[in-house]
């Protein structure tokens, strides 16, 4: 299909020895929020690194756009850095400008707009480390917007967010998808994944990929999470103990 932003076929990737992730095949299209589920060590990070071109696949093919945005967990950024929200958003221009060019007035306006788009128009000049976890997360999303990437990889963006911040992020991800981007969102929250367009289950290999209703069955989740999974007494639902399940969407 021609409208795919990302096409992965029979992908295997690892760190030199045996592949730590194999048999990955899926397509990401504009407007899709794709939950990437799997246990710790299940291959989510390996998949993201392969998609970013940091790992060369040992098998399979990967068709990706020139630019892929990444929104890491904010703890991986240096919170003591002397940078403002605007400085961080402007880092997105690194992939669009040649190395000798500095951001122009137009680039700065674009970065301000991106911060406004994620609801941080008032905090443009705030020091990154002084912002709340949810605000920092949105600054990093703004950086990906400035990068103008059609595909965004988000690494457990809901970790540590309170309910209002999580609701804001929900809204933002919906808007990003509606604007024609594809989002791959690593998460441990199975319930949340039910609201999104696609689910990709990994446990050292691809267990399943498809619409949430088709994928999020007891059997698939058991294969994905093994003994980590706890079945709820009422019907078909399962939860993961010990992971940061926030009460998003519960109200």
């Amino acid at each position: 299909m021609t409208d795919a932003l990302l096409e992965v076929a029979d992908l295997a990737a690892g760190y030199g020895g045996e592949p730590v992730l194999r048999d990955v095949a899926f397509t990401a299209r504009p407007g899709q929020r794709i939950a990437v589920l799997g246990p710790n060590g299940g291959g989510k990070t390996t998949l993201f690194r392969a998609l970013l071109g940091e790992l060369t696949p040992s098998a399979g093919t990967l068709e990706r756009p020139a630019r892929i945005g990444v929104v890491p967990q904010t703890e991986r950024s240096r919170l003591d850095f002397p940078v403002s929200a605007l400085d961080v958003a402007l880092m997105g221009t690194l992939s669009t400008l040649p190395w000798w060019r500095r951001p122009s007035r137009a680039d700065r306006a674009r970065a301000r707009q991106a911060l406004a788009d994620v609801g941080l128009a008032e905090r443009v000049d705030a020091t990154f480390g002084d912002l709340s976890g949810g605000q920092r997360q949105r600054v990093l999303v703004a950086r990906a917007l400035v990068q103008d990437a059609p595909v965004l990889l988000l690494d457990e963006p809901y970790v540590g967010l309170d309910t209002p911040s999580a609701a804001l992020l929900d809204r933002l991800l919906l808007d990003l998808a509606a604007s024609g981007r594809a989002l791959l969102i690593a998460t441990h929250d199975v319930e949340q994944a039910r609201d999104w367009e696609r689910v990709l289950c990994l446990n050292r290999r691809q267990i399943a990929f498809g619409a949430p209703d088709d994928v999020l069955t007891r059997e698939t989740l058991a294969l994905t999470y093994g003994t980590e999974l706890v079945e709820l007494p009422a019907g078909d639902r399962c939860v993961l103990p010990g992971h940061h399940a926030h009460d998003h969407g519960a109200a």
């Binding site: 890491p72 240096r78 850095f81 940078v83 880092m91 690194l94 190395w99 950086r143």
Partner: protein, 274 residues
């Protein structure tokens, strides 16, 4: 003007401090930001074998020091790039190798009584015009590289993985940063010595970091502080007949301690009143 500054050799020393302040002040902020303090300290010291070779074979000590420091920068970049070793581990490996080579060269090959003390602690009062040209050249190179590569140095330090995803490949820009630190440490060698080069390269930037929280003002403040501490240390050293390099280092340390104490008191006061 106080009496010591009428003396020509003191005036030359002041010019040297002004020239060194640009490079070491701006680089100092990058050193603190990128966690390169140990490297900055080590790269000057690791110039030891180059100085012994220069002394033994009769070529310019500056050339020997620059060449060795350049090799150290290449070595640290290569080791840090290959494995997942941080710059500190890579620096330690290269430093040990360089010092061992220097000791063997000095004791077993050239039997040199090379002016080790001068190299280790500098001699700001016998600065020549070559030293000033080198200090000026390093200052210009730092300004230029900072303007062109500063955004990449910042992005790589902020979050290395994302910087790569943003297309800011950091290997070459980071090598330029390490090479500039090496060049600046060598430029400061004659003035303040290998063991004390961090008094210009690290201590002032660490001091101003306590009170400034944006990059550009931090850099400007650090250049100014290097200048003030350098000239004040020089003046005191002439007045009390103490070695200038060590005096500048003591002034730097004292200003850092006073700033840290004042900031601590200010923060405690703020907490108490809020």
């Amino acid at each position: 003007m106080p009496a010591p500054f009428d003396l020509p050799f003191v005036q030359r020393a002041v010019v040297e401090i002004v020239l060194l302040a640009v490079g070491s002040g701006i680089l100092g902020t990058w050193i603190v930001l990128r966690g390169l303090s140990f490297y900055a300290h080590a790269v000057g010291t690791a110039a030891f074998p180059g100085l012994v070779l220069a002394d033994g074979l009769g070529f310019s000590p500056l050339l020997g020091a620059l060449a060795t420091a350049g090799l150290v920068a290449i070595g640290v970049t290569a080791i840090a790039a290959r494995g997942r070793a941080e710059y500190d581990s890579a620096t330690a490996l290269v430093l040990v190798g360089a010092l061992a080579a220097g000791v063997i060269l000095a004791s077993d090959v050239f039997h040199s009584q090379a002016s080790v003390e001068r190299m280790l602690f500098g001699s700001l009062l016998v600065i020549g015009s070559t030293d000033q040209v080198v200090a000026a050249a390093v200052g210009v190179a730092v300004l230029l590289a900072g303007a062109l590569l500063g955004r990449r140095w910042l992005a790589a330090g902020f979050d290395r993985d994302s910087a790569r995803a943003l297309g800011a490949r950091s290997a070459l820009p980071d090598f330029v940063l390490l090479a500039l630190v090496a060049a600046c440490a060598v430029a400061a060698l004659d003035a303040i010595g290998a063991l004390l080069s961090t008094a210009l390269l690290v201590v002032p930037a660490a001091t101003t970091r306590l009170v400034v929280d944006r990059l550009r003002p931090w850099q400007a403040a650090t250049v100014a502080l290097v200048l003030v501490e350098g000239v004040a240390g020089l003046w005191i050293s002439v007045e009390v007949n103490a070695p200038p390099g060590a005096t500048i280092a003591v002034v730097g340390g004292a200003v850092f301690a006073a700033t840290a104490l004042a900031r601590g008191a200010h923060l405690r006061l703020g907490t108490a009143t809020s």
